[in-house]
Symmetry: C2
């Protein structure tokens, strides 16, 4: 990290962390209500599936991807209201991916967000259907949610972006690569390619879908957001893998040490903890530098990047 | 079935069955090419996932839902070209549902279309991801496939219809009810409600999405298609359940007797084989009667209904 970027990060650190924590909490509560209103009620048939969907989506989660949409909205001059439905769509596909990834056929995890995973609290078939049903709900919100003030052409663009972000060249593809490479040796470039799909694609979509809701951005602003999102997405995944090695189960709300147990190729496993931490700092600096053309309007994105990349859970 | 409807069906039977078989084969080959062109190539990473998607989608299947789109297209004055992309979207979600339904956590089937099911040919995690990745591909086609000559507003309507047809008030919900009621006693009305979601919703969507691609239909024609699709969808499911009891494994390409083994409430189980066959004939007659306002233009839909409801596999 060069000195000026390092200084900027530190200043941000001192000035804004506490206030930004309150902002994140406000956004989290907003999302809790927004998601609760859009999920089918358990009073309607099939009750158990609707309950399991609400169990999986509500009552937990840091809502990092929605926060990326809200912070990007600020940078491009939109209100939270204008991106809330898109934030719900992103969070629903994120939760679907967690529910399916936790299944015995995948990562076989018992604990998620400090509670039993969906298939533990319900059963495997229900968890499968929860994921299967969250996907179309996400696309339905983008197609027809009345709170999304987007033209039909923009709605289609959002649907296309989400579909690509979670398809075989995005999240599902990254997950497939992750399964294929367990126990094999990858170089760090291959690991970063896998992460770009597995988590990076949806992180980037969170930023770029929010930007898409605004009047067309100048090309340099759009590419600045793309660079920001790419750097943050990768740094976020490395930070996640670092926490799997160095984190505490009670703080994380999920098991640690799982990656090395499964011989997953991660940054800490390949280049070590110290070099991984350095990589996170470099990407952090790149992300902050990318935001320069936005001036003060990107302060929320800066604070969010800082919060994400220094988190301990 | 009343006499005139019965006569009409018989006339249809004598006149068109062989020619319509050739039509179905033409449509099937068209779909094979259309799907192959839209599925990601195994030469691209992740190769194994792309292979498994192609294994599951291509090389088998009667393409009944695409045939419903093509036959409806004729009834409303569209060419096959104009609904081909939508037919692909429907078939992709249908295949995703088969791949997930076959998983051990659901129906645990080893055989599908005369070949090992996806999780048998590959593995459970891959089968999970195949289904997860086919869904966004379907929505992506509706959002941006260049072969779909639909306005943005129509594309959004198609996305909304598909999302509803496969969500908790459609296919995924029907599957959840199916799981919940195994071994319980249902009355025939509850069974038909379950079928309306589990298979009926996507069958109806096949017909109504094709209709949606045409210039707005007169209300009576739209409601005629709705009645046709509802009757055919239910009759198709009863026929399927009858074949599970009376069919032959080598003709069907999948195991028989599975429903009674799982104590699934079906028409044959609740009202018996003869009454179930009568119910199919009544629904068949209702479907044919519903098409009256279309005159000759609906001949393909009539032939298709006849073929579907007299099939032995």
């Amino acid at each position: 990290m060069n000195d000026s970027a390092d200084r900027r990060v530190r200043v941000q650190d001192d000035a804004g962390t506490e206030a930004f924590g309150a902002q994140l909490e406000t956004w989290r509560l907003r999302m809790e209500n927004a998601l609760a209103a859009r999920l089918p009620q358990p009073s309607r048939v099939p009750a158990r599936l609707h309950e399991a969907m609400r169990y999986s989506v509500l009552g937990g989660g840091k809502r990092i991807r929605p926060a990326l949409l809200f912070a990007t909205a600020r940078a491009v001059g939109l209100s939270e209201d204008q991106v809330e439905a898109a934030a719900c769509a992103i969070e629903l596909v994120h939760v679907y991916s967690l529910v399916h990834d936790d299944l015995p056929a995948m990562d076989n995890d018992d604990l998620r967000r400090g509670r039993p995973t969906c298939h533990k609290a319900y059963d495997e078939a229900t968890a499968l259907l929860v994921g299967d049903a969250l996907q179309p709900l996400a696309f339905q919100l983008l197609a027809s949610d009345p709170a999304l003030p987007a033209s039909p052409v923009i709605r289609l663009r959002l649907i296309d972006m989400l579909a690509q972000a979670i398809g075989t060249f995005g999240m599902a593809g990254g997950q497939a690569i992750d399964l294929a490479v367990q126990g094999t040796r990858l170089d760090i470039g291959q690991v970063e390619d896998m992460h770009a799909r597995k988590t990076g694609a949806v992180i980037s979509a969170s930023v770029l879908m929010a930007a898409e809701c605004a009047p067309p951005l100048e090309t340099n602003l759009y590419s600045a957001l793309t660079r920001f999102a790419t750097a943050v997405g990768l740094a976020f995944q490395i930070q996640d893998d670092l926490l799997d090695v160095t984190g505490d189960v009670s703080t994380l709300g999920k098991a640690t040490g799982a990656d090395s147990e499964r011989a997953k190729p991660t940054h800490p496993a390949i280049i070590g903890i110290t070099a991984s931490q350095q990589r996170v700092r470099l990407l952090h600096s790149q992300a902050i530098n990318a935001l320069a053309p936005f001036g003060d309007r990107a302060d929320s994105l800066r604070s969010l990047a800082h919060w994400l990349l220094s988190r301990q859970y």
